[in-house]
Structure formats: structure tokens, C-alpha cells
Amino acid sequence: MVGAMTPRITARGPVSQALQTAFRHAATLDSPEMARVVELAGVALEEERDLLTDDDLQLALFMIYGLSYGDTVDADDEWEWNPQLVRARRLIERCFEAQLRARIPVDDLPEPDAEHVAAFLFALTQEDGGPGLSRYIARTASREQLLEFVIQRSIYTRKEADPHSWAIPRLTGRAKAAIVEVQSDEYGAGRPQRIHAEIFARTMRALGLDDAYGAYVDEVPAITLASFTMMSMFGLNRGLRGAVAGHLAAFEMTSSIPNRFYGNGFRRLGYGDDVTEYYDEHVEADAVHEQIAGRDLAGGLAEQHPELLEDIVFGAKACLYVDGLAGQHMLDCWQAGRSSLRAGVAVAA
């Protein structure tokens, strides 16, 4: 039954509104409703708005990618490859990518061999002190703030690993073996209850939160959507396979130590293993994954395709940059005594 599993999504402006209207109509080649989306997206993009914080365009991109992921939007499957839909998607993607590249300069590259690339990425991710989000969670965050943190992260984490998996058939040899080794662990190595996204669902339920995909999409700001749409864009476009490899490496390299702090934050407020299992699992898992993703995936790909080295570094820096902004948003709001969600969502605390 169409729609039974999809979240309620409220439009945030003319483009996402027009997209919702189009999704209620047939996915015809000359759909006037989708032509309107293309037109409105063009108008919005001409205004040269900051796409990382643009609620309307980020939500539109989130809904478009939702056609490929499933369980996200209530729309005919035919829309996924509808030429007008793809046109709207590419308009937004090209602008999004251009803005990211303009803000994230890649001016320093390692030698294109696995050891140098791994060492470079480890150094890069270590320099990035991050916004101190994990330390705040460990020491200071209130119960309500911990729930907000889980809600913010749920946009990606309930689909954990999926954005990078789009890249698998675009890789070969050592890089392919590496990403499959990492993703197999993310997907529970044959045990459905060990799928990381499902462990996270248990955390959400133990906190009294709704674990259905996108249950809180209306509450998260554009920057949270941008973190997910960016990695989806990297994964869904073959031309960005270098970026998706770099992104995964940086993501894994900034995970094991923060996850220990996150788990400690929940323990500090008296939560048990049913809540902290997800974080504790990632302390150990990502200490393995960061070695494989840095050396065999990113490094292996650079050895095979030195021409992708710049994009590998770009993808890693983009991960640090965008996730840094998303984390800083939470910290800024909390330190100012506000909710980090769009409209204070009523959650059972």
C-alpha cells in the first residue's frame, strides 16, 4: 500500500511544495506539475542562496533522493527516473556541489599511494577538533538535548551506511573489497538484528522515540538534511565516487572516540545498555572501519585512479565541514538555551 510507511513531510517553500503537488499526480513525461518544480528550482537557484541552510531546496533534494531510498515519500515509483524529475535533481545538485567546492578548497594533496593517503586523512581528521559536541554530550547535555541529538542523527542513522553503498558497483579491486568489508559489518554480517540502523532503532525506542524512517523530518533544520543529502549526492553520482570514498573514510575516522563520549553522556543520565548499545558498538566497529576505509578504500582507490585523489580529499573535507556545521548548530542552540529543532517537538523525556 502506497504511503503506509512514509513520514508526514511539510513543505518548506515553493519548490518542496510544488514537488509534493507533483508527487500526487501521474509521473508522465510532460507532467506540468514537475515542469513547475523545474521552473521554481531554477528561480530559487538564481537567487544564489546558501544551499546548506536552505530549508526549501534541502527538503526538495531529500524528497527526491527519497524516491531512490524508499520509505521516504508517498509517490509513484515511476517518478524516480522521470526525465523532468531528474532535471530538477541535477539543477539542485550542480549548484550544491559547486557551492561545496567553493567553500572547501583542496590545496594540499598526499602522494597517491595507500599509506600516504591514509596518513594524510588521519592527520586531516585529527586536526579537526570538531565543535566539541561529543564532549558537551558527555558532560553537560540535558535529557531533552540528548533526545534532540538522537532525533537530529536519525535522518542519516536510520539509513546508516546506505548512502555510501550506492558507490559499491562503481569501485573495483582493493577499494571495492574494502567498502564491502566495512558495509557488511554495518549491515550486521548476515544478522539482521546487528544492522547498525536497527541497533539505532532500538536506541530510539528505548528513549520513547518513533523509529519509523523520517518520523522527525519536519523538526530537523536544513543543515541536518544537508549532511544526508550531500553524502547521498556523492553516492548516487558515479562522477563523485572519489568524494564518497573520502567521505566514508573521514566519517569513520571521526567516529570511535566521539561515540565513546556519546555513550558516556547517556550513562551519565542513567540510561542503560538498550540505549547505549549503538554507541558502544561504534567505538569498536569504527576503530576497525577507519583503518579499512582510510587505507584500502580511499588509499586503494587513489592508487588505482590518481586522478580521483583530489575528490577523495574533497569528500573527506566536505564530511568534516558539513557535519561540523550540523554539530555546531546543536551546540549554539543549546548554549543559547534554545532547542536545536525547528519547532520544539514534543518528545517523551
Binding site: S256, V283, E290, Q291
Partner: protein, 69 residues
């Protein structure tokens, strides 16, 4: 028919853990088995992991150097 078991492979990661792939028996010095929870595991070699014998990434925080090995 049993498939031939592949030789375990241990990668000494520069400035990091020992990455162990393939089937190995892991036990404490007291003879207690240590259950690996994943197919590929990382064993601590900097000495500061909080989840020994496994790696938790702490080597990065202490700037552990393996001196090229």
C-alpha cells in the same frame, strides 16, 4: 565438502592497531576465550584502549607512533 580455510592475515597498521582478518582463536593469557564480535577485528597495540584487547581509536589521542612498522 568444506571450503579450504584461508590463512589469517594480520596487518600492522601504521601508527595504529593490528588488523586481523580470517579465523583466529583469541584468548586471554589465563586461557579464557575472547569472542570476536566481527569478522575483521583491530587489536590494540598502543596500550591505552579502554576495550582491550580491541582497539578503540585511542592511539590517535596519544599520538602513538609505530615507527614505520
Amino acid at each position: 565438502m568444506t571450503a579450504p580455510r584461508e590463512e589469517p592475515l594480520i596487518v600492522a597498521c601504521a601508527d595504529g592497531p593490528l588488523l586481523v582478518r580470517g579465523h583466529v582463536a583469541l584468548m586471554t593469557s589465563g586461557g579464557e576465550p575472547v569472542e570476536p564480535r566481527r569478522r575483521t577485528v583491530a587489536l590494540c597495540r598502543c596500550g591505552v584502549s579502554a576495550i582491550k584487547p580491541f582497539c578503540d581509536g585511542s592511539h590517535k589521542a596519544i599520538h602513538f607512533k609505530s615507527d614505520g612498522h
